[in-house]
């Protein structure tokens, strides 16, 4: 589904918590939220590539986002699979702590990411919203889909 954001449009975001941060990702790019699935490890991969999961017959790569963003993160025992899908029908699954509500925000409100966010997080985020009680980092799905291995 192609969504074109005009300047004053409302965008729906799926939100989630990862470590101490609050993120949002464009809802139309989220394929599903899945429970913990049996993981098959892939040899010779960096540690943030957790493995492969079987989603109704589709083999999807699962990424431990904590490890990707913070090099020395611990093993996750409790997480949720946030499965993203791009316009070419490629999927990738991110291990996140838990998922929040779906919220609607105006495209006007998106701001640049502040300097104090660490570099590895900045790489995967394309903007930020100041909400009433917290900040929401907007995940850059295309960046993740295309450059997750870099």
């Amino acid at each position: 589904m192609k969504v074109v954001h005009m300047n004053d449009e409302m965008i729906q975001y799926c939100t989630f918590y990862l470590d101490k941060s609050f993120f949002g990702v464009e809802a139309h790019k989220v394929q599903e939220v899945a429970r913990i699935q049996n993981l098959t490890t892939i040899p010779l991969m960096p540690d943030y590539v957790k493995g492969l999961i079987n989603l109704r017959g589709e083999v999807v790569m699962s990424i431990d986002m904590s490890k990707k963003l913070h090099a020395c993160a611990e093993e996750k025992n409790d997480y949720v699979n946030l499965v993203l899908r791009d316009q070419n029908a490629n999927s990738i699954s991110l291990m996140v702590d838990h998922v929040g509500d779906v919220i609607e925000l105006s495209s006007h409100g998106i701001e640049d990411v502040p300097e104090n966010i660490d570099p590895s997080t900045r790489k995967v985020v394309k903007g930020m919203y100041k909400l009433s009680q917290k900040f929401m980092l907007v995940l850059d799905v295309d960046r993740i889909m295309n450059q997750i291995m870099e």
Partner: protein, 730 residues
């Protein structure tokens, strides 16, 4: 879409297909201006377009095709010669017809296309040549019915299906295969005969279904290649170069979606080749090359992938020039360019924003660069590789996965996980007992090799290659039997030591994420019968990663003089059998893929060919005795059944050979022997098909030349078929 629109859409689709063949045939016609079969094919296309077009009242289309039809009729009636000028005009006509069809497709109307000029050109063509013929002929009618025109009845034996439906069908079949695997798994543990019988039946039906559904989506790569001769002709003409295109493997089948994806990249590569690769005729002659440049386009299937190669004999890519350009464009620094190897340097052309030619020609270089080509192909899950030699030529190899392929696999296990290998890569399975190890496995510094019947092959350990914690030595230490899987990649063999060998399964290949695919270690993933995900190994990638070639080299060095002699000594194994006149014939065992003992009943004759079922395919058989000329030069009746020739035999030995991606078999005789001899004194061959004669087991033995025999067999089939008027191809 209402009914009329549907009819129009079908008409447009058919017409475009017809024009594709039209273009291809025109290029053919230019080479063979008197080939009436081709002329008729071309004629029929415009004829039917005129007919159906008039039904829809597409006036311009009808007028143009009618005029072209008249021109073709003149050619058909031998009143006109198909000169290069005429071919070009007809190709131009094809283009204009396409434009009209395009408009019809989009707007249901012909649109504002001017055809007057083209009509006049065609008319001029006809009259100028015709005028010179006026002296010989009397009044010429429009469209006379030539007496030699053969009527051909074309029957409808196909149906158009929406590709989305085929996609969904494929997915469902994939799921069915997975389910079937699970059912078979349960069946094994249940010991219920009734259930076992039913699940076997399910299995057979599923296999057949899967094969047929896969085939519906497969089209020969010729579908896109068909346009290339014309493209080459146009480009070569505009660059004032002489180029010919040689295509092999055009019948290689490839999934329809992949076809669409690689068409543009291939076209672009061809353009590059002509524009920048092939030199102009005078330069070529001066360099000692033939005036006409050649582009070789080939396609074949190997181990679950489609390989497409484009090779030219042009001037190659100059690494230093590329480096220069790259530094100029700021892609790399001067320092970096110093340390770059030539091989890495030429791959810089894949970097976005790169174009080696300063002046952008119309054909290539503008907008579409090699970086886009690479992206297209990687998007499809494939890889591109470029090799080049200055002055010699350039070769671009594209590997594409058979995406939703269902492949016969063999499941291997390391101590931690299961992996699948395509059966096509499997040479043999070896199980070594402890006491055999000293004889068969040799340790040289840090590496190991295995003695496989006289050859020395590198030995690697899967656990070690995949970093799963154990080394080759661990595995050998900890196990009393060693499992070695002998695999083949790029025609070279190596042995893979694994913890265990599970079973064979037909598995559904699920494509992997692009990045994983690029690493070329895993070719895909699958879901096994037990529900778990298993990675499919890319045999070539594993070999490269484990540095198999380096091991091979090192081993051959270290094994040294004594073993070198042993290896190179002329002691070779031969398959020896009785020839047709009582003499003995031999074939080197090493070249043979498999030596099979086949029951006579399994060999069938279809037309002029002997065939048999082998590994789920039809294997073409060549009867050695019938191909190698008899000394007595008797006329052999090729209609004799094998059972008559080989009386009293129930079985025949067939030597199966692998020729690139195809297999064929040589029928030897009811009995064979294996002899290991040192070939010392050889004498020149006495007849075609024989490499040399030598003594084996006290008998004069003719060692056969397999490739020559193939060629002879092919020629024989062509000759016989011509004389009895039957097409040589099945």
């Amino acid at each position: 879409m209402n009914e009329n629109q549907e009819l129009i859409a079908a008409f447009v689709e058919e017409s475009i297909e017809g024009l594709d063949a039209f273009d291809q045939d025109l290029v053919e016609l230019e080479k063979k201006p008197d080939d009436h079969e081709v002329i008729n094919k071309i004629f029929r296309v415009v004829h039917s377009m005129k007919g159906t077009g008039s039904f829809f009242e597409f006036e311009k289309l009808v007028t143009l095709s009618h005029t072209a039809e008249n021109l073709l009729d003149d050619i058909r009636g031998d009143k006109l010669q198909a000169t290069a000028e005429i071919i070009t005009i007809l190709l131009e006509t094809s283009d204009v017809l396409r434009k009209i069809l395009h408009n019809i497709d989009k707007t249901q109307a012909e649109g504002e296309i001017r055809i007057q000029e083209l009509l006049e050109k065609i008319h001029l063509c006809r009259t100028t040549q015709l005028e010179s013929e006026q002296n010989q002929t009397q009044g010429v009618e429009e469209n006379p019915e030539p007496s030699h025109h053969r009527m051909q009845i074309v029957t409808e034996s196909s149906i158009r299906v929406d590709i989305d439906r085929l996609d969904r069908l494929m997915n469902l079949v994939g799921e069915l295969v997975l389910c079937r695997n699970q059912v078979l798994q349960y069946s094994k543990s249940l010991y219920d005969t009734q259930f076992a019988i039913v699940s076997q039946r399910l299995s057979h039906v599923t296999t057949d279904l899967q094969e047929i559904v896969m085939q519906t989506r497969m089209q020969p790569i010729e579908r896109i290649w068909g346009r290339y001769p014309r493209v080459i002709r146009t480009l070569a003409n505009s660059c004032n170069k002489k180029v010919r295109l040689i295509m092999t493997g055009e019948d290689t089948e490839i999934d329809k979606t992949l076809l669409e994806i690689i068409n543009d990249p291939l076209t672009h590569i061809l353009r590059n080749s002509i524009d920048h690769g092939i030199e102009d005729p005078e330069y070529r002659l001066r360099s000692g090359k033939p005036e006409e440049g050649t582009i070789y386009l080939s396609a074949y299937q190997e181990g679950g992938q489609i390989i497409v190669e484009i090779r030219d004999d042009g001037k190659g890519i100059n690494a230093s020039y590329v480096k220069q350009q790259a530094v100029k464009k700021g892609i790399i620094t001067e320092a970096q360019s110093q340390s770059l190897s030539d091989r890495d340097a030429i791959n810089l052309i894949f970097v976005p924003g790169f174009s080696t030619v300063d002046t952008v020609t119309d054909m290539s270089g503008r907008g579409v660069g090699m970086d886009v080509v690479k992206e297209y192909i990687e998007h499809a899950g494939g890889v591109v590789e470029l090799t080049s030699e200055v002055g010699v030529g350039t070769c671009i190899q594209i590997k594409l996965p058979l995406t939703l392929a269902i492949m016969p696999g063999i499941v291997l296990g390391t101590c931690k996980s299961k992996y699948v290998v395509h059966q096509a890569s499997l040479v043999e399975l070896i199980c070594l007992e402890d006491d055999e190890i000293p004889d068969k496995i040799e340790f040289i510094r840090n590496v190991a090799v295995y003695r496989l019947r006289g050859a020395v092959i590198p030995l690697i350990c899967l656990d070690e290659v995949l970093n799963e914690g154990r080394t080759l030595f661990d595995v050998i230490d900890q196990n009393s039997t060693i499992n070695i899987v002998v695999l083949q990649a790029a025609r070279r063999q190596f042995g893979l030591v694994v913890e265990c060998i599970h079973d064979t399964q037909e598995v559904v290949v699920k494509p992997l994420n692009r990045f994983l695919q690029k690493m070329q270690i895993f070719a895909g993933a699958t879901i096994l019968g037990d529900g778990g995900i298993s990675l499919i190994l890319d045999v070539g990638g594993i070999a490269r990663r484990a540095n198999v070639e380096a091991i091979r080299k090192e081993a051959l060095e270290v094994i040294g003089v004594q073993a070198q002699e042993e290896l190179q000594d002329k002691s070779v194994q031969f398959v020896v059998f009785e020839g047709q006149d009582g003499g003995q014939m031999g074939l080197p065992l090493l070249d043979i893929y498999r030596l099979e003992k086949i029951s006579l009943n399994d060999i069938q004759k279809i037309g002029l060919h002997h065939v048999m079922q082998y590994q789920n395919k039809i294997l073409l058989l060549i009867d050695v005795r019938q191909v190698v000329e008899e000394r007595r030069k008797q006329l052999r009746n090729t209609d004799l059944a094998l059972s008559e020739i080989y009386k009293n035999a129930h079985h025949l030995y067939v030597a199966v050979y692998e020729d690139g991606h195809e297999k064929f078999g040589l029928i030897l005789s009811p009995n064979v022997d294996i002899m290991q001899i040192e070939v010392e004194n050889t004498s020149k061959p006495t007849r075609a098909g024989v490499l040399y004669s030598t003594i084996m087991g006290n008998k004069i033995t003719e060692v056969l030349n397999v490739s020559e025999i193939i060629a002879m067999s092919y020629r024989k089939r062509m000759n016989v078929s011509e004389s009895i008027g039957v097409p040589a191809e099945l």
